[in-house]
């Protein structure tokens, strides 16, 4: 590779832990060529963000330090630069787009002034007018509508997607040679993610900047970069061209990651799950970092004894594995295994033929009175606005939608955490709303919940035994044997009982939450983004556990998620929500293979998939999700819809059957089955 923009050589970073210094990043080397897009992929604790902070010179002072290696940017070693020299580099040569658009701006400075500040730092001679023109130009480049007006606006007046655009404008303000994007779209909805990635690509094209994209999303990487490095436990395990690696991964970890990813373009019954927990800082195994979780090495002496070097598999593809010659054969064996396990599962797909659904929701409304954003008084937020659906016993009902569509409010209303404004909820033949408090509480015990955030869902002051036992204690059914059985069932070690939640990783905490939800033998568990915050390999473990428990106990799930691939993988039937209403509902194969509502089509098109470059043309939904307090009249989706007609503004479309008795969509135009033109 001639003249790389960035060249990282043998970088080693140590962090202070309770037990002394530990290597968080070890011997990492990679190059980024001029104009290239380079992806760094890894799960939490892989050291990818720390490496990026080291390149920016932003490592936290005191607890973290670089102990070896060099970082050459345009031929100069950043680690030897003084603070002032480094300052001249940052922003000008290398700049960063951070993950969280909510906290990356100063809330009391107008957007224009904040971006202008970056311009002024590196062009002290520029007049106020020149700076202003430059900023407006940048805002226009990243597709912020009406940049003149936005110049004066404060960060809170921007939506998440708009803020991330502004962040990109800021990052490219001084035409840096290298742009580091650290999980730039992780906090955004999938349709907004597609917009932001398009903007990023456009901004790069204009500035000719190289880019490092750090992400855990393999699909996103597949769509946006040329080469990748897969990091695990602070080391690079595999690096090379993205197509080559995804087609023929050389490292068993990469194979595991790819196979544990639910795919909505291909139905699989069981996911491959990498066993065990990731190697965390300060607790790294000897020999090959991955060997305790590796299905290929299976405890060979070599694997346990020493860390393999990164070696060539093909000229541009490097793998750090002792058994790299056998990876391909092993990967096909996994596929066979998965197919066998899948056929072993008896998969009786329940239809609507059963006498009575477990849960029936009719025309449910949940409205909130919220303070006006401007002026006095309150206005009504129709979070759930007339939703009807039914869930059969032993069935998984998927509920997808972007933020603000009301899917979580719907779940919480069913649980009795919000009061329904109108409509009926019939559980096992009995109307929940008709009953008095204690009776409805008894009935609601048939429904349990697992929430998204494994850190907030367990009381930090209780030990695991008490957490799992709590539902039993509340209902005066203390039973320690049952607690042990539940813990065993979800795969928690017996010695976990007396430990506190802080000692467990996200995936294990989610298992604890599942054990707690199972304690009262519920008929229905509401999974509110229950796997969304987990790493891919752990997510696959939890999904497989959920499926297994469903088989065993005959539970029905209401699976709420924004992740279409996961919903596709677990659900029998699916509903798509947009601004408080269901716009499409039906058996999951029909909805995903033959979507009828333009919103469903757009959602599916926006999800990055592994082999996207070859198979699909990109279709980006324009505009932001409207404010749910003031949704558009008529069909709420019409403002972003490619098929919208003037008549769509007049009436709200009803759900109508779409070529199959159980497949419904709420669209005036969809019935005619017009293909979407883009």
């Amino acid at each position: 590779m001639t003249d790389p923009v960035l060249s990282v050589r043998n970088l080693t970073i140590e962090v202070m832990t309770a037990t002394g210094p530990a290597r968080a990043v070890e011997n990492v080397s990679f190059d980024v060529a001029r104009g290239e897009a380079f992806g760094v992929v890894g799960e939490s604790g892989s050291g990818k963000s720390l490496t990026m902070l080291a390149i920016m010179g932003l490592l936290p002072v005191g607890q973290v330090r670089v102990t070896a290696g060099e970082i050459l940017l345009e031929g100069r070693n950043l680690l030897n630069l003084s603070f002032d020299e480094l300052r001249a580099f940052r922003g000008k040569q290398v700049s960063m787009v951070f993950q969280d658009p909510m906290t990356s701006f100063n809330p009391v400075i107008p957007m224009g002034a904040q971006i202008g500040e970056i311009v002024r730092i590196h062009q002290p001679a520029a007049t106020a007018d020149e700076v202003r023109r430059r900023v407006v130009d940048l805002l226009d480049l990243v597709g912020v509508p009406d940049p003149e007006r936005c110049y004066r606006q404060y960060p809170h007046e921007f939506s998440g997607g708009m803020r991330q655009r502004a962040m990109i404008a800021m990052a490219v303000a001084n035409d840096p040679a290298l742009l580091i994007a650290d999980e730039p779209t992780t906090a955004l909805d999938v349709t907004i993610q597609a917009q932001v990635m398009a903007v990023l690509a456009k901004a790069r094209q204009r500035t000719q900047a190289s880019m490092i994209l750090v992400t855990h999303d393999l699909g996103l990487v597949a769509e946006s970069v040329d080469r990748i490095a897969v990091m695990y436990g602070g080391r690079i395990l595999e690096t090379g061209g993205v197509d080559a690696i995804f087609e023929a991964p050389g490292h068993p970890y990469t194979v595991g990651l790819l196979k544990s990813l639910p795919r909505f373009d291909r139905a699989v019954d069981t996911l491959h799950a990498i066993p065990g927990q990731p190697a965390m800082v300060g607790n790294r195994p000897s020999g090959c970092l991955f060997h305790p979780r590796c299905g290929l090495g299976e405890g060979r002496v070599d694997c346990r004894a020493r860390m393999p070097e990164l070696l060539n598999a093909t000229p541009a593809h490097w793998v750090a594995c002792h058994a790299r010659g056998e990876t391909a054969r092993w990967a096909t064996r996994i596929d066979v295994d998965l197919r066998q396990r899948a056929s072993a599962l008896d998969r009786a797909v329940p239809g609507f033929s059963e006498s009575q659904p477990l849960l029936q929701v009719e025309n449910l409304h949940t409205h909130f009175r919220v303070a006006r954003s401007r002026g006095w008084g309150r206005e009504v937020l129709r979070a759930v606005n007339g939703v009807s659906f039914a869930i059969d016993r032993r069935q998984t009902f998927g509920l997808v939608g972007e933020s603000g569509c009301g899917k979580s409010t719907l779940g919480r209303t069913l649980l009795g955490l919000h009061r329904a404004t109108g409509g009926r909820v019939v559980l096992a033949g009995r109307d929940v709303a008709q009953m008095n408090r204690s009776r409805s509480r008894d009935l609601r015990r048939m429904m349990q919940v697992v929430f998204q955030d494994p850190y907030a869902s367990l009381d930090p002051r209780m030990d695991i035994h008490d957490i799992v036992a709590e539902p039993l204690m509340i209902n005066e059914m203390r039973d320690d044997a049952r607690v042990r059985e539940l813990m065993d069932r979800v795969g928690l070690p017996a010695d976990a009982a007396r430990r506190k939640p802080a000692e467990f990783s996200g995936g294990q905490r989610q298992r604890i939450a599942i054990a707690r939800a199972l304690a009262l033998n519920p008929e229905l568990i509401i999974l509110d983004e229950a796997v969304s915050s987990l790493d891919v390999s752990i997510q696959a473990q939890v999904i497989n556990l959920l499926k297994q428990l469903q088989q065993e106990f005959g539970i029905a799930y209401l699976f709420i998620s924004h992740n279409l691939a996961v919903v596709r993988h677990v659900s029998d039937r699916v509903a798509v929500m947009y601004l408080g209403r269901i716009v499409e509902v039906g058996p999951s194969d029909l909805v995903f293979n033959d979507p009828r509502h333009p919103y469903t089509k757009a959602l599916l098109a926006a999800v990055p998939v592994l082999d996207a470059r070859r198979t699909r043309t990109k279709f980006v939904l324009t505009g932001d999700i409207p404010n749910p307090v003031r949704p558009p009249s008529g069909c709420a989706f019409r403002t972003r819809c490619a098929l919208a007609q003037p008549s769509c503004a007049r009436a709200v479309p009803e759900l109508t059957a779409q070529g199959h008795p159980e497949h419904f969509a709420a669209c005036f135009v969809a019935a005619s089955n017009t293909p979407i033109r883009t």
Binding site: R412, L417, V449, D453, R461, M462
Partner: protein, 275 residues
């Protein structure tokens, strides 16, 4: 580090308070008029006055030991009373919201708008100054900071998933408050309490100084400062020494509470970090 020093300092002080009255010759009430205004380290009639004596010749070591015990007892009891009231009201306001919250927070704001010393002076004038009244009054008027912090924490904790999960399992409000809210609120309350303790010691001292607190011959730290004031030119130590004890106690408690804050930071961030 500083918490360790502060703890050693307070430990010595408390040990001295307990041990000294047990020794002969340190009777806090025993007068010897010929030893009036003795300065520290003087020997009068064969007796060493380590810290001197007051106008009536009472040994200052014995009086300081008793005064410290009285002042600490009052302030610890007052902190316990106010913490109980404040945590209870704060939890009720934060968990049940609605009219209860409006009423409780209204009273809190009302009380904050009137200087506490003014209330104490007015009420003491009516009920009369004595040890029990003083303790109760200090306790009843100091709940606001606990109440506000407890309410703020409850507001965020009640929306946390572990509380919601318990609710869906049929937990009553009492269960949630007892099992989830109180244990998570308490560490913060201990920190607030350690700040309040210093404040109350000083408040007690100022009231006693004004003659509205402890009545002689029972000594308290504030009262001793006030008594010594008339003889500042003859023997300034009479006021300076109780002042130094107040300083040691208040500073010690503050340092310890800072240690709590730093140590508790991990536990609290894990309890409060997520939105």
């Amino acid at each position: 580090m500083s918490a360790g020093i502060a703890m050693a300092m307070l430990g010595c002080l408390i040990a001295a308070m307990i041990l000294i009255p047990a020794l002969p010759g340190y009777d806090p009430y025993g007068q010897n008029l010929s030893a009036g205004y003795t300065e520290p380290f003087q020997t009068i009639e064969g007796k060493l006055y380590l810290l001197g004596a007051d106008a009536l010749g009472r040994d200052l070591v014995g009086r300081l030991a008793l005064a410290t015990r009285v002042s600490l007892a009052i302030s610890v009891a007052a902190v316990a009373i106010s913490m109980t009231i404040g945590v209870t009201l704060g939890l009720i306001a934060g968990f049940f919201r609605g009219p209860a919250e409006t009423a409780i927070m209204g009273i809190a704001d009302l009380q904050l708008s009137i200087p506490r010393v003014l209330i104490l002076i007015a009420v003491t004038a009516i009920v009369g100054p004595n040890l029990v009244n003083l303790t109760l009054l200090l306790g009843l008027t100091s709940w606001v900071s606990y109440g506000r912090v407890a309410r703020a924490m409850t507001l965020s904790l009640r929306e946390r998933e572990f509380v919601l999960a318990a609710t869906t399992q049929g937990a009553s409000p009492i269960w949630n408050i007892r099992k989830h809210l109180l244990p998570n609120v308490m560490p913060q309350m201990v920190i607030v309490g350690s700040f309040e303790l210093g404040q109350i010691i000083i408040l007690e001292a100022s009231l006693s100084y004004l003659g509205l607190g402890i009545q002689p011959p029972l000594p308290s730290l504030g009262l001793m400062i006030s008594e010594g004031q008339t003889a500042l030119e003859i023997n300034p130590w009479l006021s300076v020494l109780p002042g130094m004890v107040i300083f040691i106690v208040v500073a010690g408690v503050q340092f310890i509470s800072q240690g709590f804050t730093a140590e508790g930071a991990d536990a609290r961030t894990s309890a409060m970090a997520a939105p």
